[in-house]
């Protein structure tokens, strides 16, 4: 039984959610990693160092440069005969590609698993994580995305897998990648950050999100937001933490001006320590917070920045 894990990579580095997907796959048996892209030897070399990976399949071709679902799923379909499980992290790339692979294999995908019971049986959140379903698949090949926050990532170093070139696969050309407009930030990515500081509707406007910056800088944190803050146009959608955004589980999550709708809690309640700052002491966020501060955030944030500075 061997699992093939599609790797998310950028600039020759393996993204942390993929290291979590490797950890999940390792519970099933042997693990191969698929690195696809254009000019991605460095990423393949990095994948070969991941503990638990016994072989890296390198698909280096222009068709794979931008992770378009159509050529990527054709590639994985061509590799599928050698594997019992086809996996990826639950990222924008994994979510886009893996269900397409599953349909081509006549398999019902098992999305966003949070636990491995056995080779056929997995635990996954439903209803925004308000229930956990244990499901057993009857399909010959399982197509799975992995909730990164639920599996400790394997280390970046320590393995020594062989690298093998993928066979050349004919790519369907029905779509074209034009451009990407990525948020520029020196901060860690939300899904990989050790600390996350998030703002909600209580921030009142996008300008006020700057109040979170000195705190995030001091803590080495990523900045996130609730759906309410995204819907109100304060910050872009890629800041969104929650059922319909990103799922995070940092060591420390600081929720500022966030009431704590169940859809937001779905995205952060597995954080190790949760801090809530909200002026409404009845806010549901306090029911999950380890430390709650009932305060006006416009007073508390500058104080917090100063207090951390004093550190």
């Amino acid at each position: 039984m061997t699992a093939l894990v599609l790797i998310d990579h950028e600039g020759g580095l393996i993204k942390q959610p993929s290291r979590s997907a490797i950890a999940a796959a390792a519970q099933l048996g042997e693990v191969h990693a698929l690195v696809a892209g254009s000019g991605v030897q460095a990423a393949a070399d990095a994948a070969a160092k991941l503990p638990g990976v016994s072989k890296v399949i390198l698909a280096d071709a222009p068709a794979y440069a931008n992770n378009l679902a159509e050529p990527m799923s054709a590639l994985i379909l061509a590799l599928a005969p050698g594997y019992s499980h086809l996996m990826a992290a639950t990222t924008a790339i994994g979510k886009n590609i893996m269900p397409r692979v599953a349909a081509l294999l006549d398999s019902q995908p098992i999305s966003d698993i949070a636990g491995v019971v056995d080779a056929d049986t997995f635990v996954r959140p439903i209803y925004a994580g308000n229930a956990m379903a244990t499901v057993k698949s009857s399909d010959a090949k399982k197509v799975i995305t992995v909730r990164a926050a639920s599996f400790d990532p394997v280390a970046s170093e320590g393995g020594s897998a062989s690298i093998e070139a993928a066979p050349s696969v004919e790519s369907p050309v029905v779509s074209k990648w034009i451009s990407a407009e990525l948020s520029k930030s020196e901060r860690p990515e939300l899904t990989a950050a050790r600390v996350v500081v998030s703002g909600g509707r209580g921030m009142q406007n996008g300008e006020n999100f700057k109040l979170l910056d000195p705190i995030a800088d001091k803590l080495g944190a990523a900045v996130g937001a609730s759906r309410a803050a995204v819907d109100a146009g304060f910050v872009p959608n890629d800041y969104q933490v929650g059922q319909t955004g990103k799922i995070v589980a940092p060591d420390l999550y600081v929720a500022v001006g966030i009431s704590g709708a169940i859809q937001h809690l779905a995205g952060m309640k597995d954080s190790k320590v949760i801090v809530a700052i909200n002026k409404d002491e009845e806010a549901p966020i306090f029911q999950v917070a380890d430390y709650g501060l009932v305060a006006d955030l416009f007073q508390a944030l500058p104080e917090l920045a100063a207090e951390l500075e004093r550190g």
Partner: protein, 275 residues
């Protein structure tokens, strides 16, 4: 069904296909809509662990599907589409969900009635059969249903039809035989061009769905809904995933309130040791 009580009228100006500027030919849009437990309901796990309680619980159209219907209606209003078909698959009550779509501006409905737990693979196969019959130029789906959170049906349908896919769309522009889609990705936005016919799945910022007006709700009652069964579409809907059990997630205990910022920082440093 939502109404804003203000009797807001939709600008559904019917124009003959021939004089449309942007449509390459009369284009149908298919919009699958799912009946789910309402967004605001706090779901409860059944005590026997077989699922969540849905008896007596408010049901609504999946919020992302409302965005899909809205986008289809806007494309029709712009003259880029000629007909919108809302499809729902599931129990007989899914008819209400179709009526909601019809009240928002869809022209007719198709109900595939089944009491089986329909999973995305079976749904995608049935939608494929419907698409082959109806020949839409575009299918718009929600990016995920808020009940099973699978986020799979659109991608699977695209695969089965051999069409291109633009998932997690925040902006869609049709230009002749192709469509430009801005997609929400992890680090920001991505722009792709898709050959039509194509699949779109909707993200939050694509649009803000309208409320159906009372006159349009009344009109929707007269719009036709075809009813069929999975067998009529040649699809075996038997679930591939068996639910072994459904449990409450691990509960988090509420912690303590701190009195000041200084106390908070002290606790984080010395008690929780996370900073």
């Amino acid at each position: 069904m939502r109404t804003n009580g203000r009797g807001l009228f939709l600008a559904t100006v019917e124009r003959p296909a021939l004089i449309q500027e942007t449509a390459r030919q009369p284009m149908k849009i298919l919009v699958p809509v799912k009946r789910v437990v309402d967004y605001n309901v706090k779901v409860r796990v059944k005590s026997d662990g077989t699922g969540v309680e849905t008896a007596g619980v408010k049901m609504s159209m999946n919020p992302f599907d409302e965005i899909a219907v809205e986008e289809a209606v806007r494309l029709k209003e712009k003259g880029a589409a000629t007909e919108i078909i809302a499809v729902s698959l599931g129990v007989a009550a899914c008819q209400e969900t179709i009526r909601t779509a019809l009240a928002m501006g869809a022209d007719r409905g198709i109900l595939v009635e089944s009491d089986v737990d329909l999973q995305p693979l079976a749904v995608a196969k049935m939608l494929k059969a419907i698409a082959e019959k109806e020949q839409p130029g575009l299918i718009i789906l929600g990016k995920q249903a808020i009940d099973d959170d699978m986020s799979a049906t659109g991608q699977m349908l695209a695969a089965l039809l051999g069409w291109s896919q633009g998932t997690f769309a925040s902006k869609v522009t049709i230009e002749g035989d192709s469509m430009t889609v801005i997609r929400e990705v992890d680090g920001g936005l991505e722009t792709v061009v898709l050959n039509l016919p194509a699949i779109i799945t909707t993200d939050l910022r694509l649009n803000e769905p309208r409320y159906a007006s009372l006159p349009n709700i009344m009109k929707a009652r007269k719009k036709p809904i075809d009813t069929m069964k999975p067998a009529d579409l040649g699809v075996d809907p038997t679930p591939r995933l068996t639910v072994v059990k459904v449990e409450e997630p691990a509960k988090r205990q509420a912690g303590k309130k701190v009195g000041s910022v200084a106390e908070l920082v002290e606790k984080l440093r010395n008690e929780a040791k996370v900073i």
